[in-house]
Subunit: 534 residues, 2 copies
Amino acid sequence: MNRREILKLSAASALSALSPAIAQAAVVKAAPSLQPVPKFDFFESSLQGPTDGNPYLDVQLSATFTLDHRSVQVDGFYDGNGAYKIRFMPDTEGPWRFTTSSNATALANHTGSFLCTPANSHGPVSVRNIHHFAYADGTPYFPFGTTCYAWAHQGSEMEQQTLTTLASAPFNKIRMCVFPKSYEFNHNEPEFYPFPRTAPASKEHPQGINDTTRFNPAFFAHFENLLTRLRDLNIEADIILFHPYDRWGYATMSTEADDRYLRYVIARFAAFRNVWWSLANEYDFMKAKTTQDFDRLLRIAQQSDPYQHLRSIHHGHVMYNYGSSTVTHASLQVTDFDSALGWSQQWRKPVLYDECQYEGNIPRRWGNLSGPEMTRRFWLGVIAGCYVTHGETYFDPSLSFDENGTQKIWWANGGVLRGSSPARIAFLRKLLEDTTIHGLEGSPAAYYLNATNPATTAQGVDLKASPAAILYYLDEHQPIEYTFPLDNATYTAELIDPWAMTITPIPGQHSGKTTLRLPASPFQALRFKQAPKS
Amino acid sequence: MNRREILKLSAASALSALSPAIAQAAVVKAAPSLQPVPKFDFFESSLQGPTDGNPYLDVQLSATFTLDHRSVQVDGFYDGNGAYKIRFMPDTEGPWRFTTSSNATALANHTGSFLCTPANSHGPVSVRNIHHFAYADGTPYFPFGTTCYAWAHQGSEMEQQTLTTLASAPFNKIRMCVFPKSYEFNHNEPEFYPFPRTAPASKEHPQGINDTTRFNPAFFAHFENLLTRLRDLNIEADIILFHPYDRWGYATMSTEADDRYLRYVIARFAAFRNVWWSLANEYDFMKAKTTQDFDRLLRIAQQSDPYQHLRSIHHGHVMYNYGSSTVTHASLQVTDFDSALGWSQQWRKPVLYDECQYEGNIPRRWGNLSGPEMTRRFWLGVIAGCYVTHGETYFDPSLSFDENGTQKIWWANGGVLRGSSPARIAFLRKLLEDTTIHGLEGSPAAYYLNATNPATTAQGVDLKASPAAILYYLDEHQPIEYTFPLDNATYTAELIDPWAMTITPIPGQHSGKTTLRLPASPFQALRFKQAPKS
């Protein structure tokens, strides 16, 4: 037995006795030559390469990562100052090796390796059970998102405030733009620009001039820092890649520049486990692009992303073809919840109400829902087996309204939350997590709105079996009693007040047609849970 | 000068000095041979005729009423016991004459006359300004209806209670069935049957046997008494001629029986100025009839009614073709108010939301809206330039719910009103009457829901001129302020709380883009009225 074998043996003995975290440290100690990378974190390799010409255009770099018989090819990117980087998010434990390819001799045929150690996270989110999501480790993920379009362009103090708010908010997804935004409540210049500015805005060039053949590494490093911070908060970054509210020229770039930007973003960001690709916000309001342009961009994202992160596109007035295989879920801007079930069934994908107007008080139709109405919309979505995204647009009522003013609002800038719906959204999220692991399925046959938590069998989810739980939401209805058409399983019942955030057990066990006396007030809910078999 | 001439002269002198009512009496005195009938009341002539055979089938009777060069032909009807009747509602003052026609010698070629005197009512309602209604004398009529399907079959005590309730309720239209109803909350046998029952319900004949070749005059006399009482309350009777909720065979009669019944009803009821024809409730739920059957029935109603009373048909799931020239207005069962304006524009007719669910607490999806939600739906309809019908389904919460029980609810039986919406409906009706004489036009361009009261010019309504008033309803929105895009006319502004029933003037006069501070609470409204020109 040589020294190496002894080390291996001692490590193996230690593993059987130690907790996983300590065991991981032990493995690292045992094989110091291999950099440890927890599964679903990311590995990065940096190489020095050419600085002449335009490296962004001239140099191609990729790497092939291999574990046993499996190979994954990822694109590298130029990060300025002669530095070329390759990032990789491993999804399997073990010793990965890689080899680079490049048209630049200095970058080609480099090799390396790292050790993928056990995950310290749930991993990336993907679609599960047709209409729902789960993390890679199987943990259910029910999206309860919020919207802060331009929070990444507000400067470090405000960005920190947003992160502090998010740390105690109920949201596990955030819709956010890569590009800065020029719109109501968003008139500031960003700290960073994605491309070098060869001329500032002027009378002759109102948008300034961008050199879209190059990128600004500082812009992306800043954005990646925010992605990391979100990742540490277990928040998915629903990254909006294009949007119409622009004064710098980012909405009207050439096809070549669009495609190059998209590939560069994917090369840089895809190794973050918490990214989703939203190809555009309100794609149909981007008048310089056609629907075919977005078809192409979605295909590029589909082909370029080694991890197949979730992918969608958000519409303004005209729905995208969410039946397309290039989108993994629908990202809707509608307030029509009656159609939710039909859409889910048609597309056979998760349906996210990513914009159904916002809680607030600004003089815009989309920005002044009451807290109760925002809460109601979350319930309508969830009860249809879909998911809903929050946004908040409160203006301080002690001030004069001024869309160009300095007051910050969550939906535009981040900062602080003022509304009454987040507490109720937290309640609903907890309720959902306590009710189902598979996600709720909207019921087409129900007299009232309800959603079913399907039972699990050895074969997986069984929609035909007695559901493990059933959730009813009575919306504006206020019956003094109601006969719930339960099946022959035995259920307990609870009355839920979504606004008061109370769950009141109803005595007894229930089976078959069950008539319950109700408080005859609107906006109540009921939960039936299968009683444990005695 | 003979005595008659002296009488005429003294009457004419008196007329110039006396009030119209007294003048009318004076005319009657002056011409005692002519029966006076106020315009829009009805004249009835009774003749004795054959009693052998089946007079309902065998005898045809009509009369032609003539004033100057104008002739109107009306059908008579057999009222039993050898009595044949002809009814006529005159619409023009003056001495009318009539001559009868019949295939029975005893009934043919009778003549008579009456004097149509000035109206003591506004007359029948018809369509005005495309989307609205007015009485024959030009007074605007804004339908604020309610629903008591079977109130005419509850016995005299309850019927009187219903009339007492209606006398102080805000409703000027009532949806009511000719036939008794067999449905939840309606299991009683009616006091009267429309056709002679030749056999009661039995095992062999579960619906009993009706002789549909004959009518029961007592049934119709009772119904007419109620029409008279409603007329005296200025309430339009929206008479439902067929409906699916039946256990006596009235929903499954032969085509011949259907047509005969319809013609008989029109011959009897059409002279009441306050009748509307609703060919069916939920026509598409009447499985023994096709849509073509209702097309035919509507054509018969159109051809048989000398007064062209308002005519529609109410749907369940499948909308009737409301573009048809046989219907004067749409009678919808929907809760979709977003489509209201589109439907109005498509059909170019008044749109009535005759069923948009009811305020109540019963365990039926359609029967347990809260009072605030019923109120909201009235506002949504009115603000779209349409009209909404009320219904109430409150069950006494101190009792066990029992659909077969003896408890009466307004929507089914009439009786008393318990809800909180009628007071708010009264407020809205008064507000509408104080705001417009032409009816409100929904605005497609508005950012918020709003409706415009068009201005009048010498040529009539001018939709392009500055509106005399504009009504905004903010629904679930709660802006702290809003910029209203007024035109260059000068307006006063009022804040309206539809639930608190308050109208609060906002100081100042407003013109052009007008920004107003608002209370930032949902379900508020605003009214702008053109200031009188100084």
